[in-house]
Symmetry: C2
Subunit: 198 residues, 2 copies
DNA sequence: TCTATCATGTAACCAGTTACATGATTTT
DNA sequence: AAAATCATGTAACTGGTTACATGATAGA
C-alpha cells in the first residue's frame, strides 16, 4: 500500500537485504560502496527514509542496542514484503524508461534567449567540464578493474560514461554549428547588453 | 538572495519576461509551448513557485482583477532583479554540468541481483520502449519543422533524441553481451525463485 | 434544470535538505 | 584538560505533490 518506493528506499532495502543493521551503518556502507553516486543521500534523509520504510512494513526493528551514553541504536531487518517490493520495483526501473527532467534539457530550450556567440562560448565551457568528468570516470573504472571487480559491478559507470560521451559530442557539434553560422537566431528584447565577464 | 532559482522558477521568469500575466495564464502557456516537457510542473506547484518568487522580489504583483464571482487574479510582472537572476542562472545551467541522479543508473547498479537471463529480458523490453519514444519524438520534430520553426526552437528535442539513441545503443549492446555469455554473474542469495510471470 | 465535467485556487501532506544538538575523539 | 573536530541523531524548514473545494459550463 501507500506511495511507491523511492530510489533511496530501494537503496536501503538493498543493504538490509544482505543483513540487518542500524541506520548509521547504512550510511557507512553507502559511502564505502559509492552508492551515493547513483542515489542522492544527504545525511538527514536516511533516517527519514528508514522511518518511512518501517511505517510501511517493508523493514522492521529487530533489536536496540546502546553503547556508552549515546542514544539508542535500532537495528532493522528487511521483511518478506520488503524483499518483494524491492524486487518488483527494481524490475520496473529497468524495464520502463520514466520521465525525468534533466536540467540541461531545460537550459537548452532557452538557448534562444542568448546571443549566438555567447551561447557557443558557454557550450564550449561545458564541453571542457564534460571532458574532465569523462577522464575522471575512466581512471576510476580502470582502477577498479585492476582490483578485479566484475564487469557487472561497474556497469553503471560504463553507462554514465556512454551518456557523457554522447552529451559531449552533441555539445561540440552544436557549438560548431553556431560558430560556423550553420545555425543562428536573433535573441529577443533585453537579453542583456552590459555583461562581459571573461 | 536566498536559495537558488529552481527550474520551475526559471520557467516562470521566462514567461513573465515577455509580458506580465496571472498564474493561470502561465499554466496555459506552459502547456501550449510544451514547456512541461522540460520542466516538471504539477498543477499546484506553480502557485507555490509564484509565491516564492514574489517573496524573493524576483517578480511583483502589478494589478489584481476579478471577473464574475471568481476569486481574484493577481497579475505579476518580472522585476529587474528577476531578469538578472534568470539570465545568470540560465548561463550557469548551460555552462556547468551538475550532478543528477537518473533512475536508470541506480537500477543498473543493482543489475547483479537478478539472474542474467532475466536481466537481459528486462533490458530488451526497455529497448522497445526507447524505440517507441524515439519514433514519437522524430515525428514531432518533423512536424514542427514543416511548420517552419527555427532549429533553435527545437534544439532540446534534438538533444533528447541524441540521449535516447545513446541509451538505446547501450542497452542493446549490454543485453547482447549477456545473452552471448560475454558477461555473466551469479546473483546472490534469494533473488527470487518462484517468480515467473510473462 | 439536474448532473457531469472542466476551470481555478487552496491547503494538507510528503520526501528530502539544512541547521542544530549532543556526545565522543583527537590534538595540543 | 581545553579546544577543535568528528560521529550520530533530531527537528525545523522548503519545495513539490495530491486531495479537496468552489464556481462555471455543457450535455441529458
Amino acid at each position: 500500500m501507500s506511495r511507491p518506493l523511492t530510489p533511496l528506499g530501494l537503496a536501503v532495502l538493498s543493504l538490509l537485504g544482505k543483513e540487518p543493521m542500524h541506520p548509521y551503518e547504512m550510511q557507512q556502507r553507502i559511502r564505502d560502496y559509492s552508492i551515493d553516486h547513483v542515489v542522492k543521500v544527504a545525511h538527514g534523509s536516511l533516517y527519514h527514509a528508514v522511518e518511512r520504510l518501517a511505517r510501511q512494513g517493508l523493514i522492521e526493528p529487530v533489536e536496540t542496542t546502546r553503547e556508552g551514553r549515546r542514544p539508542e541504536r535500532t537495528v532493522y531487518a528487511i521483511t518478506e514484503q520488503g524483499r518483494d517490493e524491492a524486487d518488483s520495483r527494481l524490475r520496473e526501473f529497468l524495464r520502463y524508461p520514466l520521465e525525468e527532467y534533466p536540467i540541461f534539457d531545460m537550459a537548452l530550450s532557452f538557448l534562444g534567449w542568448l546571443p549566438p556567440e555567447e551561447a557557443a562560448q558557454l557550450l564550449d565551457r561545458r564541453a571542457v567540464r564534460l571532458e574532465a568528468k569523462l577522464a575522471a570516470h575512466d581512471t576510476v573504472i580502470a582502477n577498479l578493474m585492476k582490483q578485479g571487480l566484475e564487469r557487472v559491478q561497474l556497469i553503471e559507470l560504463e553507462f554514465c560514461n556512454a551518456r557523457l560521451r554522447s552529451e559531449l559530442e552533441f555539445v561540440r557539434a552544436l557549438s560548431d554549428d553556431i560558430k560556423n553560422g550553420r545555425m543562428t537566431w536573433r535573441p529577443p528584447g533585453r537579453t542583456n547588453g552590459e555583461n562581459n565577464d571573461t
